[in-house]
């Protein structure tokens, strides 16, 4: 009979599940996330799977991981170093060990530590025995065996039984961190409603894991993380790609325009196409094109014909679309291009995150071809920026590039779901009156009229050759060209009057401003908060609008002695800031295909503040 276990309170925990691509770690991780979110913690996750589809079992490169960070406070990153590692085999241990906190907890499936697997993980001796794990709290659990025992006498094959062991691990973790198992049981019942024996097996494994924690002597302590104080409302976990898809769906509903997506699959952007292809009942048209060029060009055609036109891709795909985006600039049609940034150059690191497409987005076209460039800062922010990108494209009759990245695209966080009527209306007026219609006669926002095919008496022709101001006919006149070049630039610049100002979080002026853009928001925010807690005088500002910049940017920058710009590239925002505002900046560039470590940013902040860190 096991004695009462003590329950220890923690404010935050970072867990990493790791195992074979086939071990179902992504599922285990997301189940733990759902439950954890459900019990009211703030949570942030980061899946990390290999480029290979199903790498051979036991290999290091085949290890699939899922990290999650939950807390009783608000948090903004998946956590730097995990407090807990669940390693389903030696390769998983080998690959992740170095990143685990000293004195962290390591739970391993001892059954997987046989000669074959050790060899595959390039272990000469068994790390469970040779002291490799000194300095960690290690729990060796014969997970495979225990699962088999638990499933004694089911009709399942050994192979199928083996596949349930991740539920055992999940159950054990639920026990260890004092979470209910009911959510997952409900999920299992829904998921496997077609094969009851799986429901039974998985549930048994889950319970077995939970009870094992309770029974075994090994575990003396349990941990608890009390709910965070989140604003009241209805919540769901959401990834950036899912939020992006919903955002455009919302933009379609709010503008009353049918959504057209022309896209070609590419990691990590494919999900958006996949999500949107489900919304046929909203009249959403998803077209899986023959290539990226076809994706964007078909979208330009759809824009001409009156749709809310969208194309989605990642770096290499954006490179292919540049010529066509220039056509959309010249024809001044509303078009949104989503670029989910990944590791480059070239094919680079397809499944990893990076921020190195900023300058491509702003400058990567022939001629002077200005477009608006936006960037989402968190998974849930993708929803709002998708709507915003659509609003700007439609109001200004212009292409808009929305940048996200592999991290926020695949990472998740809880999202307080907005009510539909809290969403901005986007009103669009097609041109219908013949009287005074000229294809390039601009309104107060310098936008030209949108007269779509099917409108009587407004037949007109557009194209990629230079246009006559107002009339829109082909025009080779030198002064007209000069005029049009400036008009197109001015139209984009004017958007600065229509977007929120750059806000400073923390002191409104002082020693140091940490300035970022896009997906690094969470890491920078957490770093700045912690630095301040350590007594450093540091503030944060973060861009969601890269072109044009918010109007007050120059003024904000002047208020700080130093500006630190952390980017997952070689300093692309830094370049823009320097040329635009002629101020020097401190760069911090770590390009490892991963989000920033909060601790690294804190270090850099310290270093930048030098002696006087405000105390």
């Amino acid at each position: 009979m096991a004695k009462e276990k003590e329950m220890q309170q923690l404010s935050e925990v970072t867990v990493r599940f790791a195992g074979d691509s086939g071990d179902g770690m992504q599922l285990t991780g997301s189940q733990f996330s759902e439950t954890t979110a459900f019990v009211g913690n703030d949570i942030n996750t980061l899946p990390d799977y290999p480029a290979e589809i199903r790498a051979p079992a036991g290999t290091i490169y085949g290890v699939s991981g899922f990290q999650l960070h939950f807390s009783s406070e608000g948090i903004h990153t998946p956590g730097d170093q995990p407090d807990v590692l669940v390693a389903m085999n030696p390769a998983a241990l080998k690959k992740n060990l170095t990143e685990i906190k000293k004195n962290g907890i390591i739970i391993v499936n001892t059954d997987a530590f046989d000669a074959k697997n050790l060899k595959l993980a390039h272990y000469d001796s068994n790390p469970l025995e040779d002291g490799t794990l000194e300095g960690y709290i290690v729990f060796g659990v014969p997970i495979s065996k225990l699962t088999e025992n638990a499933l004694e006498g089911t009709s399942l094959s050994m192979k199928e039984i083996a596949r349930t062991k991740n539920f055992f691990a999940l159950g054990l973790m639920y026990w260890l961190y004092n979470r209910p198992i009911q959510n997952t049981i409900d999920w299992i019942q829904e998921k496997f409603k077609k094969n009851p024996e799986f429901i039974e097996a998985n549930t048994k494994a889950l319970n077995a894991g939970f009870n094992y924690g309770e029974m075994t002597e090994a575990f003396t302590t349990r941990y608890d993380v009390v709910p965070a104080k989140l604003p009241k409302g209805t919540y769901r976990n959401i990834s950036g790609n899912e939020a992006t898809a919903y955002g455009f769906l919302a933009a379609s509903v709010q503008s009353g325009l049918p959504l057209y997506l022309g896209s070609y699959p590419i990691t990590p952007a494919t999900d958006i196409l996949q999500y949107l292809s489900n919304f046929k009942n909203f009249g959403v048209k998803t077209f899986q094109a023959e290539d990226e060029i076809a994706g964007v060009v078909s979208a330009i055609g759809a824009a001409f014909a009156g749709s809310l036109a969208l194309t989605t891709t990642s770096g290499p795909g954006l490179a292919l679309k540049t010529e066509a985006i220039g056509l959309a600039v010249m024809t001044e049609l509303p078009l949104v291009i989503v670029n989910v940034q990944r590791g480059g150059p070239s094919t680079g690191l397809p499944t990893k995150t990076e921020q190195a497409d900023l300058l491509q987005a702003i400058y990567g076209r022939n001629g002077e071809a200005p477009v608006a460039v936006l960037a989402a800062k968190t998974p849930r922010d993708c929803f709002y920026m998708a709507i915003e990108a659509s609003r700007i494209a439609l109001k200004y009759m212009t292409p808009v590039i929305l940048l996200t990245d592999g991290y926020i695209a695949n990472g998740t966080e809880p999202w307080r779901i907005p009510s539909v009527d809290s969403l901005p209306k986007i009103d669009v007026k097609f041109r219908t009156e013949k009287e005074g219609f000229y294809p390039y006669l601009r309104d107060e926002f310098l936008a030209r009229p949108w007269a779509v095919p099917g409108t009587p008496d407004l037949e007109h022709r557009i194209g990629g050759l230079e246009k006559a101001n107002i009339y829109g006919s082909v025009n080779y006149d030198p002064d007209n060209h000069n005029k049009m070049i400036h008009l197109r630039a001015e139209k984009i610049k004017n958007i600065e009057n229509d977007i929120p100002e750059l806000e400073v979080d923390g002191d409104q002026q002082g020693e140091l401003l940490v300035l970022g853009w896009g997906g690094t928001y969470g890491a920078i925010k957490e770093a700045v908060i912690k630095s301040r807690a350590m007594g450093m005088k540091v503030s944060q500002a973060h861009f969601q609008y890269l072109n044009p910049f918010p109007k007050n940017t120059g003024e904000v920058l002047k208020r700080f002695k130093k500006v630190l710009i952390p980017e997952i590239n070689l300093g692309q925002l830094a370049k823009l800031i320097k040329s635009e505002y002629l101020i020097d900046v401190v760069q911090f560039n770590v390009i490892r295909g991963l989000p920033f470590r909060v601790s690294d940013i804190i270090e850099k902040i310290k270093e930048t503040l030098g002696g006087k860190n405000g105390k």
Binding site: R236, F279, R461
Partner: protein
Amino acid sequence: MENKVEVKTAKLTAKDFASDQEVRWCPGCGDYSILAQVQRTFPEIIEVPKEDVVWISGIGCSSRFPYYMDTYGFHGIHGRAPILATGVKLANPKLSVWVATGDGDLLSIGGNHFIHACRKNIDIKILLFNNRIYGLTKGQYSPTSEKGKVTKTSPYGSVDYPFNPTMLATGSEATFVARSIDRHTKHLQEMIKRVGKHKGTAFLEIYQNCNIFNDGAFSILTDKDTKDDNVLVLEQGKPMIFGKNGEKGIKLDGFTPRVVDLSDGKYSADDLWIHDEFEESPVRSAILSTFTETPGMPTPVGVFRQVLKPTYDQGLVEQIEFVKKKKGVGELEKVLFGGNTWEVN
């Protein structure tokens, strides 16, 4: 509706389709004839209101075409006309979408979009202005130029074998494949009408004379004294007969076509290959395509093949309707609040 349309189009004349733009092709260019035949036939074949007609093109002399039609028009970028047209058609399937393109535009840089449009059977009409040369860039050989052609970029003769456009369209399983010639105005009008009536990707290759950079490329097919002996006009259900006085015919040995002489009584019309453009199999179209590569064979003009199968755009619309019925018209609220949610109070 039907009626309204009738009324609306009934009134139209060729002039109604002429835009106010002055036509800027070289004097004598075959493009003028194509434009004229299109404007002449459109009042008849356009069954939708005029404002529902859209002309799309890429880049090239031929791609200036949309500027001269008083319809909605989009002069795109080089090679992308078929996919630009696809986007327009998918966004609004009730539009009548036409593509004017050149042999470089459609078959060189644009080849992929072309074969994919054919494969998907998008309901767009593609008129290929095939002058076997790059006109706008001033005379380089194109993917339809004959091997050995001397041009600015092939001073010693090109080493490329040309594409056979109708063969490529057939290989991509286009549902409508036809050919005509700029100077054969009546026939060209006939073909444009057929294109207009087809539902699905309609491909019409038009031999077009570029009198500046490739003059006379098709003269044996257009000169009074040579054309009859070199052009085979395909007619549905009729034996394949050609020649000044219809003295020659096409006979099929296995699937090798041969020219036979009908004058010496050895062969009669009954021995000849009867044309059937509605044949399901693409093989006939393939055989007809080989004529131009076979010495001694006449050049077939007319409809090589026309089959009907649901178009992509139709399929897309039907799927949307189906899903709306099945799941009910989408509600944003339901989507956002769907999935795993929880309350925080």
